[in-house]
Amino acid sequence: MALGAVALGPLASLGSLLPRLHPSWLRYTSLMTSTLMSLLWLLSGALGLILVAAPAPNLAVGGIPLWQFRLDPLSAFFLVVLGVVGTASSLHAVGYFRQLGRTGLRRVLIPLPLFLSAMALLLLADNAYTFLVAWEGMALSSSYLILAQTQTIQARHAAYLYLLVAHLGALCLLAAFALLCHGNPLAGNDFSALTHEVLAPGLAQAVLLLTLLGFGAKLGMAPLHVWLPEAHPAAPSPVSALMSAAMLPMALYGLLRIDWQILPPEGVSWGLVWLALGLLTAGFGVLFSTLQRDLKRLLAYSSMENMGLILVALGLARLFVAEGSPTLAALALSAGLFQTLNHALFKGLLFLGSGSVFHSTGTVDMGRLGALIRSMPQTTLLMLIGCLAIAGLPPLNGFASEWMLLQAFLLAPQMASGTLQAILPLTAAGVVLVLALASFAIIKAFGLSFLGQPRSIYTAHEAGLWERFAMAFLALGCIFLGLFPGLAIHAISAVNVLLLPGNSLGIQQPWRLTPISPERASYVPGWFLIGIAVAILLTFLLVWWRFGRPLRRVPVWSCGFRGARTARMQDSPAGFSQSLLRIFQPIHHGRIQPDTASKELRVELADPFWVGLYEPLQRLALALSRQALRLQHGKISSYLLYAFLTLVVLLVLVR
């Protein structure tokens, strides 16, 4: 079923090429097809988690099985993620691209179904060839999508950088696969065969390193994250939602598939590496997200932070496996996977909401927004749910997965060595700090854009029906998973059984989370919500009954500054995070500079990795190529000399 849906993808994009179609007809059919595809994936993924499916038939080309597919619980889980985000983005896109003409639509609608199909193909791939083809397809189609809406210089730089980093990552992956299937590159590269092979330890380490680099580049892991903050804001919002909520987890899928299932985890070193890199990514991402002015850049850095947290969870699981407690490893793994699903829900919702904001006001610059709650009330409510979820507030879903991660830290067993004993509390403290700073960033985003007074003059209208429907779909998902986290954990247990043979967490009831035992830790979000709702209602009723009187609206007091108060006296984005800027100055070297054009103060920020790592590399590469220029004399005799020398060397080697 999922395969059939994959095939629909290229058909949809080909269909967009047909000339002389009315734009809205084109829009509806193409996007409805992609919605249908995503729904099918969602269903098949959910089914796949509940019943373990058999491998699908292979497509053989010329006697060698070139394309192989399989749906196992790991793929099924990520198919669910893809399906959820794909459905919402496609529905939102129907409303978002309302005003585009035929060429503009073609620019989006040709790559978009290909992008979705490539991701699904990646998940269903059962051999290295299919995997790599799907990976490349995903990167190429998404780079076209980045340029779909704006073709400014900045957007083109963003797409170029994205493609560059993606290809570097793909090279690492190619090398890793080459090492993995060193025996038989064409025949024996299907995953089940690879799982049963035993690699020499040196080779295994090399493969682990290469896959970490390759998948880390796609994940936005520091220091390979430089494309993330450029690409996400440039792309149109439904595409940003897809990239952030569905494409980044593809890298996690790859890590789990190759570095966990095919090469079983042993030894603490790689777990530590994942833990450290995850914490670095999360800390870096959250710090930069608090200092941003552009709403979509803030969300992009926040995606980086969430991916870092998930990587921390996965690294913790690896550590626990090495230390011999598979149950706790299952806990950490479930926490990470649950966080992936929740991230898809709330980050998708936030990106789609920012798209609606851009659509209706023309800007995502928080320094020019404000008071959208009056002109877009329903969008604001949906965005509020998303913001509360990402800030990790009970009883929504973000809190449930963070709760599980913290429980994994607290229930940690005694480690073998003293260094490990020191690392656990430090990482736990780091995670808690990251979570607190994340809520700062998201409250800044919501408060500055949606509340207060408008900071510039714009006309805003409520988002279209399609857009609201898509956002409501995701918001309902947030609330549902928040109230019934046990359902998700139960579904993830199938993945646990696959990756950690023979271990899973205790049977969960849908409405409560008790990972190990009720005495140690227990969380029932339903009672929570009921309790709070009852308390609020009782308070309201009692106060209204006893002291209730009609409320009068008066001009705001504002400490008596009534006449002179303008909307510009509110916090600007730079002002909101000024103190954080000062505290963390040694890390990011940002400053507040006056901007004479718009007469306000802005934060000037440069990515320290870019300045410290990439620019020197760039200079080195340029210097090396200048040296290589010396070989280019233009004289025919020297070129003949080069050919002669090469021939001699080869003859010597062949001997």
């Binding site: 709650i373 009056r374 800030a391 990790g392 507030l393 009970p394 913290l406 429980q407 830290f409 607290l410 003293g418 020191a422 509390p425 430090l426 736990a428 403290a429 808690v432 979570l435 607190a436 809520s439 700062f440 408060g447 509340l451 207060g452 007074q453 009720p518 005495e519 140690r520 830790a521 227990s522 969380y523 029932v524 929570f528 309790g531 709070i532 709702a533 308390a535 609020i536 209602l537 308070t539 309201f540 106060v543 002291f547 009187r549 409320l551 009068r552 609206r553 008066v554 001009p555 705001v556 504002s558 400490c559 500054f561 108060r565 509110q570 916090d571 002002g575 995070s577 103190s579 954080l580």
Partner: protein
Amino acid sequence: MQTLQVLVALAIAPLFSAWLQMLRALLQNRRPAGLGQGYRDLRRLFHKEAFLPEDSSWLFRFSPYILFGTKVMASTLVPILAVDLPLAPAADVIALVGLLAVARIFQVLAAMDTGTPFASLGAHREMLVSALAEPALLSAFFIASLLAGSTSLSTIVLHAQEGLFSLHPSMVFAAAAFFLVLLVENSRIPVDNPATHLELTMIHEAMLLEYSGRHLALLEWGAQLKLLLYVTIGIALFFPWGIADQFAPMAILLAGLALLIKLFLAAPILALVETLLAKKRLFRVPEFAATAFLFGVIGLLTHFMLGS
């Protein structure tokens, strides 16, 4: 049962704040206002008319109820009088911190909704300080739960009653961190002056500037309840003797008496701290919260590496 505990908490909260104010006045050579001042203030505010700013939204209007409701919910989770709480399986310490975070975030959002400069000043200062204080609180709770082997507050308190809880070295750091966080989260000196009238130095008060009448009464009562909750959590973690194990009437009476005595003794300590210290400059406040966080980290390290 549970409601009894909530009602007791609601009733005692203004009394405790009034007692604290009296001690501060006595230490500062002013005439104290009397123990009933808290109740008188609340009654006066409830009977006044409440206004809404012109451009504010439903967030502004309903935040006082949301805040009050969450704090009432929090008081059902803290073992004030008894350990055996029916809602204990629903939430543990992490959820309790999350609940307090919900209250804080809605207050910040309501402040930003008014669109005035002072309210947004207060809002971003509150978010900044809590971004550093919440990790400190969580790490203090982590130390307690690591020692007790559970994150459920009831189990932690039961464990604390049984033995050498407070004398573990890591608990010393947890206590120090918790005390500093109490000062930060409840806007006491040296972080924020609860009696200040200078808008530029406010953190907590700035967010309440536009509220009036019964909304302001709910917010004030909620703040007093929050202070009481923090003090009772501290008592439950570090001085838990006297808290009843189950809901027998005799044990509850004894627990109530013990609670009153402990609150009576706790207020002078708080008042002394407030009188002897001066309010810190705003840019030093994050350092204060960061010191609390670092105390928590050292406590965690002591537990993990020294095994105690």
